[in-house]
């Protein structure tokens, strides 16, 4: 055993490598990105040629991982919480097909929306799809759960959801790792040749005789899971149910152990008998969980005939929104921490902003100049660094909803008669989910202008390789956009007038145009130059 200092994300990655995985699939998204980044740096992964290239989006990643599982090998697919919306069709149906090789869907939620458009709780997806779920409370568990999760997935032939949250994903802790990796599986077809053919009669059979039929056994697994524990305490006036990182916040406030009985939850479906035992022994139950009131609602369902109060996010004991912290938990268990100093009013907000020299700055300056005569409210943007143009001094965009929505929202607004209608999307977001929307616009030659800001990287998440690099025009042409209305500009200060001219012409054109402002992301540029210098120095 050796001990490494790993992010929760990295612990999942190393856990995969050490438990005989053959492939990682995923799309970058905070706070999940570091799982695949770690694998891409890992010499072990390189030596074994574990699949570790980014996918075009979460759906393609999920399906590729399912394909690897079909072939008998183990795979992890990773994404952020909203990425699971994109992959949901494949995910929910993978529970109906079941798996062959072990399949773990590692999803990182972002409560408090540090870097996201919502704080949805992925555990609802696991329940919705009837898959088993694991939720680590520290980095060691994140590592251990991967091995355990693959075993569970292969035993029940079901995909498994591993749910992380920001403070586990992006916090480093000591992790004891195995000295030797388990061997990978050999290629092996499913025993049942029609297992993955979801024609209604086969789907019904799989759903009833496999997925639903295994549910009691999955609950039984949770009752005896090493990650679920009943920890007795002398004070029965209250019992606590804590899951995930909430367990750490609870222990922080009870260094000598908790006075109240505690049920620690790390595996789902919920262990009914363990929770019933707690409920019967105490006067009230407090639920501590990161995210939505997922356990709390189920407890209310389990014990709905009892007058005993269940406290948590629904009754206001814990704030309804946002992530937990040690202070919130301290207050909920009656151990409020003394705070001496208060926040200082001299401190001003410092929102994130474009890097110096970023091409987006000069693109938006030109776009704002052109749009001025049409008035505000006509620019549909998307998800990436360029969303920062919603802030001062640009105030340039009017929407940011989901990956690819810029293209289709601009189309819908144009259909409604809001002209001109403009869409702004990054190159990687375009290949993620913008292509299909553009095809809708091509079919109707919609009067709109799409700007594809090509910085040849997935910028916001740290400059990962973009699937669009070197092929944006080819894709746009291939979809059928009129080549006369595909324009490329260089978003730098001295090209301002050219940009204004090109943008004005294409916005005035009463049909579909695509303008591609192209300039490499300054962060990836700086990194590339550094690497080149280093390589030169090494020679």
């Amino acid at each position: 055993m050796k001990k490494l200092l790993l992010l929760g994300d990295e612990a999942v990655a190393q856990g995969g490598i050490d438990s005989g995985i053959s492939g990682f699939y995923g799309y970058p998204g905070t706070p999940s990105t570091e799982i695949i980044e770690y694998v891409q740096r890992s010499p072990q992964a390189k030596e074994r040629n574990i699949h570790r290239e980014w996918s075009v989006n979460e759906k393609t990643a999920m399906e590729a991982a399912l394909g690897m599982s079909y072939a008998g090998k183990r795979a992890i697919v990773t994404m952020k919480h909203v990425g699971l919306n994109v992959a949901a069709d494949a995910f929910v149906n993978s529970a109906i097909t079941g798996v062959n090789g072990g399949l773990i869907v590692a999803v990182a939620d972002d409560p408090s929306m540090h870097s996201s458009q919502n704080e949805q709780d992925s555990r609802y997806y696991g329940k919705f799809a009837f898959t088993p779920m694991l939720e680590p409370s520290n980095q060691q568990e994140a590592y251990d759960m991967v091995h355990y999760g693959f075993d569970l997935s292969e035993k029940y032939k079901l995909p498994l959801l591993l749910r992380l949250t920001t403070r586990i994903a992006h916090s480093r802790g000591g992790v004891e790792v195995k000295d030797e990796a388990r061997p990978e599986n050999e290629v092996r077809l499913p025993d049942d040749p029609v297992q993955f053919v979801l024609l209604p009669n086969i789907a019904k059979r799989n759903y009833e005789q496999h997925l639903l039929a295994e549910q009691p056994a999955l609950i039984e697994e949770s009752e005896k899971s090493p990650f679920n524990k009943y920890i007795d305490g002398p004070d029965k006036s209250m019992g606590i149910v804590a899951s995930g990182i909430a367990v750490n916040y609870l222990m922080e406030n009870c260094p000598e152990g908790c006075n109240y009985p505690v049920v620690k939850i790390g595996q789902y479906p919920l262990p009914y008998n363990m929770l019933k035992k707690l409920f019967d022994e105490v006067d009230t139950v407090l639920v501590l969980e990161e995210g939505y009131p997922f356990i709390e609602e189920q407890l209310r369902g389990f014990f709905n005939t009892s007058p005993k109060p269940i406290k948590g996010r629904l009754d206001g004991t814990i704030p309804r929104t946002g992530e937990l912290n040690p202070n919130i938990v301290a207050k909920a268990i009656g151990k409020e921490i003394e705070i001496v100093y208060s926040p200082n009013s001299i401190v001003k907000a410092r929102p994130p902003q474009f890097c110096d020299g970023c091409g987006h700055i000069f693109f938006y300056k030109a776009l704002n100049d052109v749009m001025e005569k049409y008035g505000k409210g006509r620019v549909f943007a998307d998800i990436g660094c360029y969303t920062l143009a919603a802030l001062s001094p640009f105030n340039a965009i009017n929407s940011c909803v989901d990956m690819g929505a810029s293209v289709t929202m601009a189309k819908g607004a144009a259909d409604a008669g809001l002209l001109p209608s403009v869409a702004v999307i990054g190159d990687s977001t375009f290949t993620h989910s913008g292509i299909t929307g553009l095809l809708d616009a091509v079919r109707e030659n919609t009067n709109m202008t799409l700007f594809i800001l090509d910085n040849s990287a997935v910028g916001m998440t740290g400059g990962q390789k973009s699937a669009a690099t070197g092929r944006v025009e080819d894709i746009v042409k291939g979809l059928g956009v009129d080549p006369d209305h595909i324009r490329i500009v260089n978003p730098i200060p001295k090209e301002h007038q050219t940009m204004v001219k090109v943008f004005s012409e294409e916005i005035a054109y009463p049909g579909l145009s695509v303008v591609i402002p192209r300039r490499e992301c300054v962060q990836t540029y700086i990194r590339r130059i550094k690497m080149q210098k280093k390589a030169k120095a090494a020679k």
Binding site: R172, E338, V340, N344, R350, P352, S392
Partner: protein
């Protein structure tokens, strides 16, 4: 022994390299470490922080409770103040005095420094200027590690070893420069406390 440190700064200033030096030193001494970091959106010129906890006993929470931080170390003065209310009563507020002005409403720097001086235990030093004097603005972070070194519960020479470990692959001259910066930070910090 347990030390809870909140490191603050502006995205791109390099709080993670400060955390790395302290964490590497603590690990060398067989201590437990937890380090929560900010990744993603804020890294683009926004305010960033890292919770670093080192202890000779296992650490439960990844986040430092508000009101219990031993040290807030700011690579930038306004960012030091942003998390100063996490300090316990006799905690240390240690700040670089050079402002990073990428916002339109940055308050007058003297007002910011006056607020820092209201904390009973505070140290202010101009790490940027001192770094330039040493020949590289890149070592401002390490000067701040030197300034905080008496309060970490770590031995100074262990921190030197930590620096060798972190910068070793960049060559001996880089190691020497950073060791000098560490020493400079310690001297300035001791001097500040003596005069105050």
């Amino acid at each position: 022994m347990k030390t809870d440190i909140i490191l603050t700064g502006v995205g791109g200033q390099g709080i993670l390299s400060v955390a790395a030096i302290i964490a590497a030193t603590a690990l060398r001494k067989g201590m437990y470490v937890k380090q929560s970091e900010v990744h993603g959106m804020s890294q683009r010129g926004g305010d960033v922080q890292s919770n670093l906890r080192i202890s000779d006993k296992p650490i439960a929470s990844d986040l430092i409770p508000m009101g219990k931080a031993d040290i807030v170390l700011g690579l930038e003065p306004i960012e030091a103040l942003r998390y100063a209310h996490y300090l316990k009563k006799d905690g240390w507020l240690i700040a670089n005095s050079t402002p990073y002005k990428n916002i339109p409403d940055y308050p007058p720097i003297e007002d910011v420094l006056a607020e820092i001086k209201k904390f009973p235990n505070h140290i202010i030093l101009d790490a940027d200027t001192e770094a330039k004097k040493l020949g590289s603005s890149l070592v401002a972070n390490v000067i701040l590690v030197g300034a905080v070194s008496p309060y970490l519960g770590l031995e100074y020479n262990d921190l030197e070893e930590g620096i060798r470990e972190i910068f070793g692959r960049k060559g001996e001259s880089v190691v020497e420069l950073n060791l000098k910066a560490l020493k400079k930070g310690l001297e300035l910090s001791q001097e500040f406390v003596k005069i105050k």
